[in-house]
């Protein structure tokens, strides 16, 4: 096939190169670039932590049970989201909306828990310029990494609210639920690495 023919076959209009809608393709591209953003944050955290030499023991600063509960909430909301996408695929808008509302609830619980975690951390003396546990970079990376992730969760909750409210208004599309779901799972995916690298390692 000549180059022109290939171009016409794939890009002449109406054809989608990966067999998905452009919305879904763009969501995947966005997820890859956003993953690189978090990789950048986590790499710089790794380099600085090793270079600093006096990193605090996380279990002495945070309650691991509390962080594990936050992880539990986020994984559970991911499961309800997956069920919501499945219900939308099966053509059950009401079940899908129910699962999306459950996912939103999970998102709000996670955000509330994170707000409380920040409050306790700041109350214990953790700040941008220093903290009682060791290198100032520890609290700086805490705010930047969990803050960026929390902002992503907040964005996800807003996106899901739009999906749920539109569904209640009867303006519902299974593809919309799926794309919102992809983003929500990505937020969970990032937390897997934040949890392991920032709180456990």
């Amino acid at each position: 096939m000549s180059q022109t023919a290939i171009a016409q076959a794939d890009w002449g209009g109406g054809a989608s190169p990966f067999g998905v809608t452009w919305q879904k393709m763009m969501m995947w591209f966005f997820i890859v670039t956003d993953a690189l953003l978090f990789a950048g944050l986590l790499v710089s955290y790794g380099v600085v932590r090793i270079a600093t030499g006096d990193w605090p023991t996380q279990s002495e600063v945070f309650s691991l049970t509390y962080i594990a509960t936050m992880t539990f909430v986020l994984i559970t909301s991911s499961a309800t989201m997956a069920c919501g996408v499945k219900a939308a695929e099966l053509g059950r808008p009401q079940t899908a909306a129910k699962f999306v509302w459950l996912t939103i609830l999970g998102g709000f619980i996670f955000l509330g828990m994170q707000a409380y975690e920040w409050t306790v951390f700041i109350g214990d003396g953790g700040g941008i310029t220093g903290n009682p546990w060791g290198s100032p970079t520890f609290s700086q990376f805490f705010f930047i990494i969990t803050g960026f992730h929390g902002f992503h969760v907040l964005t996800g909750v807003i996106v899901l609210l739009v999906v749920a409210i539109r569904a209640a208004m009867g303006r519902y599309s299974p593809a919309g639920v799926e794309n919102a779901g992809l983003y929500w799972h990505f937020v969970d995916l990032v937390w897997v690495f934040v949890f392991a690298l920032f709180y456990l390692v």
Partner: protein, 105 residues
């Protein structure tokens, strides 16, 4: 993947697996393994969780091969960045700082 009678069962099975891996990772953190080994094991656990989420919750397993490769190559570069750079660069900077301190007395 999931039967018609129980369309959501598979996702809840996956939920149990994800929680089990998370609990295992917390147990490993508390087991006082040598630091380097703990890091490798914890990253392996994260990789398992990430793979399950991407392939099944995000349905990537059932997409066009072109899309799978696009995403996986992107994430592979991410993984290389995350797992290869920090230790080498970080310890190099630490050594430079230490030798600088020794030099300046």
């Amino acid at each position: 993947m999931s039967s018609d009678a129980h369309p959501y069962r598979f996702y809840w099975l996956l939920w149990v697996v994800l929680l089990a891996v998370t609990l295992l990772m917390i147990a490993i953190e508390g087991a006082n393994l040598p630091a380097a080994l703990a890091v490798v094991v914890l990253l392996f656990g994260s990789a398992i969780k990430a793979t399950l989420i991407i392939f099944y919750y995000m349905h990537l397993k059932f997409e066009h091969m072109g899309l799978i490769m696009t995403v996986l190559v992107g994430l592979f570069v991410t993984a290389i960045l995350m797992f290869v750079l920090p230790a080498y660069d970080g310890s190099h900077i630490l050594e430079s700082f230490q030798s600088l301190k020794e030099y300046s007395g």
